[in-house]
Structure formats: C-alpha cells, structure tokens
C-alpha cells in the first residue's frame, strides 16, 4: 500500500453518468487483487474534503489502472468532469479482495449497478489464468442504460446474464431473481463443480444475495461499500455489524466478507428484493 500522485490519462463517458477513469503512474497498484480498492481524490482544494473509495476495475501494465464510477455526489461529479492530465492522489491498493478462481469451483458473479468493477476484475483475472469458463456474470440495473462495459465483458469470453427492472434488456426483474434461476440451472448442469457466489452492489441487494446463499448452502462473498474517511482502519467510520465481534471494518477487514461472518438483516416486505 502506498500513497502517491497519479494522472488521469483518459476519462471515458459511458452514458447515464457512468465513466471510466484511466490513471497513469499507478505502478504501486500492480499485483492488486480483484475486490481491492483505492482512496482517490482530485486536486480540488478543501471541498469536498475526503477522498473517495473506488473499487479497481482493471490494472494493466505500465502503471495503468482503471476505475468505474457514476457521478452522483459532488466528489464523483468532479471526477466525472475531470480532464486528462489532471492530477489525483491515490492511496492503495487497500482491502482484501475476492478469493481467486479455481478449477473445481464455479463462481456466480452477481453485480448490481455500479457494483460491477470488482467482479469485472475477477472475471478478467479468471480469463488470465484460463478459467473464464469457471464463472459467469449476472448483472442487473434499473434500465439498459445502467448496464455498461458489456462489450468488454464479452471480449473476455465471459458468460453474461443481464437483468433490468424495466425489462429494457435481459430478464425483467432484479438481479437476485436471475441469480436464483442460475443457481437452479447450475445445480442441474454443473453438479461436479462447487458453486460460489461473489456479489457487489447496493446493500439491499447484497443482503438479499446473502439470504439466497444461506438458504441454498452456497459459499458467498460480499464486497461492501461504506462511507469511510481513511481506508486504512483508522477513522473507524466504515463499521459493519459482524457475528463474531460487534463490528468489522469495511476498509481493513473487507471490503470482501464471507456472508456468514456478517449480521444479515432479515428481509422486510418492501426491501426484500434488490436491484
């Protein structure tokens, strides 16, 4: 983990507020694992004050690193409008990451909206070790405009199952419904492989995924998002209720947790579904 200055090489708009920042000067991030993140801050003075935690989307040679974000708050909107050449500060790589792909497992990668990056990187990593046929992406959003980088994922040779709430592309409904369907399918067709679920997305989606995994007896890893100031276990802002201890920390104990290590809220009538 290092703290360093980087430059924006490219800022690629993907529509609907989504964008990919390509950063140069990130040699310290080589060897980052899927699920790890960085604290990223533009050179924009005192406000907004804090750096933003961003999951890595991809790390390439020559010190290049990509992050995917959506401009929703002031910090991400400033980054959305950042120009190539702009200086940013980076602290990373941070956190633990997902377990690597294995020949005897099949990983269901469940991504909701802007939760795509760590799972994209996981699929990319599977491709690099020749195990892309040991995972598939189940990717959901509100509309087709919330599903990005589909061409890049297909180029990895990755199987993709899309879901949108409005049915504009893929299966109509939430990503959790698609996940349940894929679990059933794999139980029939891939019985010799151990199923795992790896998920990232809105909290309500993750809790729903965890409940599905528990009911199905499937090992499940959740990559959490949280407000955090430091990224290194100091501010203690990113506490998440855990089973063996009152709290774990998203930044230093996660962001990837075994779902069985966390206190998963019970489904409520309104929030039982997910994106």
């Amino acid at each position: 983990m290092r703290y360093f200055d980087a430059r924006i090489i490219e800022n690629r708009a993907l529509g609907n507020g989504y964008f990919v920042l390509r950063l140069g000067g990130c040699d310290s991030l080589s060897g980052s694992r899927p699920g790890q993140f960085i604290m990223l801050r533009g050179d924009w003075g005192r406000d907004p004050l804090l750096p933003r935690p961003m999951s890595l989307l991809s790390v390439a040679s020559e010190g290049r690193a990509d992050v995917l974000a959506k401009g929703v708050g002031r910090g991400t909107q400033l980054l959305e409008n950042a120009q190539p050449g702009a200086r940013v500060s980076v602290l990373g790589p941070l956190g633990n990451g997902f377990p690597g792909p294995e020949p005897e497992t099949f990983d269901l990668l469940a991504a909701g909206g802007v939760g795509l990056p760590p799972l994209f990187m996981q699929a990319e990593s599977a491709t690099k070790v020749g195990l892309v046929d040991r995972c598939e992406m189940i990717y959901g959003g509100r509309t087709s405009r919330d599903l990005v980088l589909l061409g890049e994922m297909r180029a990895l040779g990755l199987g993709i199952h899309l879901a949108t709430e409005d049915g504009s592309v893929g299966r109509r409904g939430r990503v959790t419904a698609s996940l349940e369907a894929r679990i059933e399918q794999h139980r029939v067709s891939e019985r010799h492989l151990k199923l795992r679920i790896m998920a990232c997305g809105p909290k309500e989606m993750l809790w729903a995924v965890a409940r599905i995994a528990e009911a199905s007896g499937i090992e499940c890893y959740l990559s959490l998002e949280a407000h955090m100031a430091c990224g290194i276990g100091v501010c203690l802002g990113c506490a998440v209720p855990a089973r063996s201890w009152p709290f774990r920390y998203t930044c230093s104990d996660g962001p990837v947790f075994l779902a069985t290590d966390l206190v998963i809220p019970a489904a409520s009538g309104v929030q039982g579904g997910a994106t």
Binding site: Y3, R46, L49, H227, I232, C235, C238, A239
Partner: protein, 317 residues
Amino acid sequence: MSSPSSFDSGAGLRLAIRCGGIEFTNPVLTASGTFGYGKEFEGLMSLPSLGGLVTKGISPKPRFGNPAPRICETAAGMLNSIGLENVGVEGFAAAKLPFLRRCGTKVLVNFFGTTFDEYVACGEQLGKLDDIDGLEMNVSCPNIKAGGIEFGRDASVLGDLVRACRSVISKPLWVKLTPNTSDIVALARACAEGGADAVSVINTITGMSIDAHTRKPRLATIFGGLSGPAIKPIALRMVYQIHRAGLGIPICGIGGIQTGTDAIEFFLAGASTVQVGTQNFIDPASAERIVREIGEHCRHHAVSDVRELVGALSPDA
C-alpha cells in the same frame, strides 16, 4: 523513544519546543482518533519526523462504538460519531504499546472514562506504563450522573476532575478541551488551577447533518463531532482567547490544520504545538509535510526559532 532535546533542522533553524512538560523535536503532533495507534501509518510516512503522536482515546475496558453510519462529509469538514471505540487499557498495554515504544517519536496517550472514578483509575493505570511521554485527557464524554452533560463543559466539575487525576498521575497531563462552551477561558483556567500541564484546543464541535431526500439524519446517533478546515476559525479564536487570558498554561492548537501556514497561524494565536487531525485521513503523510512547510515559512520570514512565533500575533488587523 529517546529524542534529542533540541533539534536543528538546518541553516540554524530551531524547531524544537517544550510544551506541557515534554520536549518535542518539532511542534507537530497527530491528533487522537485520526492516527490510530501509530502503526497504521508505518510505511506511509516517517513517524520519527513527527514531534509526537496522540493515540486513540483509551478507556478502562474495551468499547465497541456506535452503530453505522458513523461518519459523513460536510462542507470542508466531516462529522463523526465513532463512539470512542478502543481496545481498553489492558489491550493497549499488551497489543499497542510495544510498537509505540520503538516508533521514534513522543507518545501521548489519550484517555477517558464514563464516570469520575473511571477517569481517575484509567489515568492512574496508564500513567504507570513505561515509555509513555504524557497523557491527554478527553473530557468531552457525557457524565451520566449529571444528565449526560460533558464532563468538560462545567468548569467546576472539570477542575475537580483534573485535580483528582493530577494527584495520581506523575507524567505530563494535558487536557483536551471541548469547544461546546460559552466560556473556553473558564475551562482552561480550571485546568490550569487543577494542575494540568497543557490544554489541547479544540476537540470536535457538536453538529448534525440531514439528508433532505430521505428526511433522515446522516449519522445513526443524529449528532456528531465536526472536524476539518471548517472549524479552524473557531479553534484559532479559542486558542487566542486562552493565550490572551495569560493563564500561563501552554496550548496545543487543534482544528482544521492542513498546511504549515495553518500551523503558523495557531502559533501566532498562542499555541506552542499543534495537532494534525482530519487531514491525516486525506493525506496520510501530511503531518510530515507540515513540519517541512513550517521550516520553509520560518526561513522565508527569517525566523530562526519557532518559539519566536508563539503568541506573536500583531493585534492590529
């Protein structure tokens, strides 16, 4: 943790300073709650480059802290409601102190209790640990027996608390004052009369933030402590008020310090040392940079000894 009692940073510039019974190689410390137990920053900065560090607040027993969300960003600042989570005295001595013994800078241990007796017992236990240079008492905790009002908000209660802790602590004892008061000078006076060696000014300012879309508070506990550059003018004002009162107690200035120039402003207002807090979250190496920038300022303004700056405010605007 031995460090030279005086420090020549080059070209005849002296940054070493004595504050609150402790000799520092330079006047920049890191603030409690923003620097963990020191080890978290190993590899990100040079710990010996600091004048000192102040640990996370320690209570007699471990505490697990408040529910989430615990932090939120505000205009040029942040609110926190961590809930004083910490490993407790025994956990600190066993797991954190061994590293601090060899970290190469002065170490102050911040401590607190939830009752009068807990404060005294905690201070006494920590004061007996070897290789700690001093203690900083956090008096911003709610006094349950007095209806939840902060111990440090009532000058009479604060004076009694400082006196009681002083009687069992032989190491340097600093008191971190709450700014949630109408009379900061009265609080500083109570500390001076109670025998404190220095006051740290200021702790966070109570505030809140609301999400207009969800109609909910942004912190689980509704209220939290505001920190960051947004509070610097208030901190400067309080440091200056205490200095101007001529109480004779040294002041460690805290509140929104991001640069060497910010630190210099606190020296001019009357602080002998400063603590860098929220800025550690933004740039983990910032305290080291601030030491350099103080040196640059001194050289630029032909100041040969940082002590010349303390209280050197020219009162005419």
